[in-house]
Symmetry: C2
Subunit: 275 residues, 2 copies
Amino acid sequence: MTYCLGIRLNAGMVFLSDSRTNAGMDQVGTFRKMIIYEKPGDRFMVMLSAGNLSVSQSIRELLQVQSLKDGHGDQPLTIWNAVSMFDVARVLGATVRSVNNDDGDALQKAGIEFNPALILGGQIRGEAMRMFLVYSAGNFIEATRETCYLQIGESKYGKPVLDRLIAPTVPLDTAAKCALVSMDSTLQANLSVGLPLDLLVYREGLLQSNQIVCIDEDNPYFQMVHKTWGRRLKEVFDTMEDPCWEGGTAGHPIRTASSRYEPMRKISNPTEKIV
Amino acid sequence: MTYCLGIRLNAGMVFLSDSRTNAGMDQVGTFRKMIIYEKPGDRFMVMLSAGNLSVSQSIRELLQVQSLKDGHGDQPLTIWNAVSMFDVARVLGATVRSVNNDDGDALQKAGIEFNPALILGGQIRGEAMRMFLVYSAGNFIEATRETCYLQIGESKYGKPVLDRLIAPTVPLDTAAKCALVSMDSTLQANLSVGLPLDLLVYREGLLQSNQIVCIDEDNPYFQMVHKTWGRRLKEVFDTMEDPCWEGGTAGHPIRTASSRYEPMRKISNPTEKIV
């Protein structure tokens, strides 16, 4: 499994990926899932990948040379000459389909699903930042203001904290912190997600980033997040009133006079049936 | 889908279930998933169910009359005469198998999976409280001191908060509060989990419970949990330091001198390959 996360904010973008791959519990490896495609001053693009590792690596490699016949001009379209991130996502979609054409049948015969999922975010000079999630069929969706983050792989454990805290107006470093909390919950729940992490923070308009770090178990900031979040969560939880069953003076009774339904009970006589 | 949760603590047990069933987005219903089997002063048992509704309802009904030939005595074993919760779980397993025998083939032909999952917890006079998770094959596992809660259905969204806060020594009402937080996160993330909820708190040794409530959207306590948890979580999050990229005086730098790995970068020239 894998957990990768991309967040597109007004101020920039945050990318975070784990690095565990496995083929069964007894065959675990470390392969990083973030790659940067960069033309300094012109374009800065980041891709995160989930799914079968051979497929991801092929896509990552071929994406650099993939070209697409395009109605817009004479030149074939590549990620290096595209004038929009939308077109870059189309090239990535074509790359996914091309790997499926080459390997899909043989994988299927071997009982291996062709299941890549990719997050691609970036900025080309003259265009706004954009972020896409590309599926195994090469189709894709884009992050929007309403849903400004995209996840691939083991997405569920880390989703509640994102839903509660992430919005387009959140500052970049705050979003990076939130991404790490989301990853921390996932690391604890799923053994197939593992350290080290790759974290990249991109500031709108820069067309480059030097806020990139590989986070392992010794990283002081990630250690602090891990310890503090758990402890503080417990403190907050403890300050929230417990349910009070007997009414009295509690401001928020759990039992109210007009409960909509009675509990379903079956009392002792084994020959009688539930109505 | 469904989300049901059972917690076995030193002080007692907590059970919580949602009530949404669906056959596609356009066919949504309310069916409650908690049932109490009770012989006052002798035994108190609670069952939560997930999976195909027709299967769950059949299991619930037949469990009352299911009997099992047993090596222990002349009388066939039932949930009403069993002397241990382990034997009750065996009767439930036999009930699951019996419904599979009756309906499994026809369901399979109709493309419907036989997929019940059941949490069964309770206490029989003279025995400690016990809680089991019964699978579709009728086999089962028991909650222990190390893993004192069991979930069925949509378990992932609500798991991190349980892992951080639940232990056998937690008081009953605190565990009930935690269960509601776990459910709240799940309700927000998965439309196929829905109100009203059934919450039951059982105190060790009582062989009965009057702490049972059906919680709908107007419940003052659940409203408080929903609002307070989200707000306080944000406050805690805000007090945790953001990552500081430039080192300086920050106690927990995110960037360290000896980063284990460099980022994977591919810079511009499209004819060159990644090494």
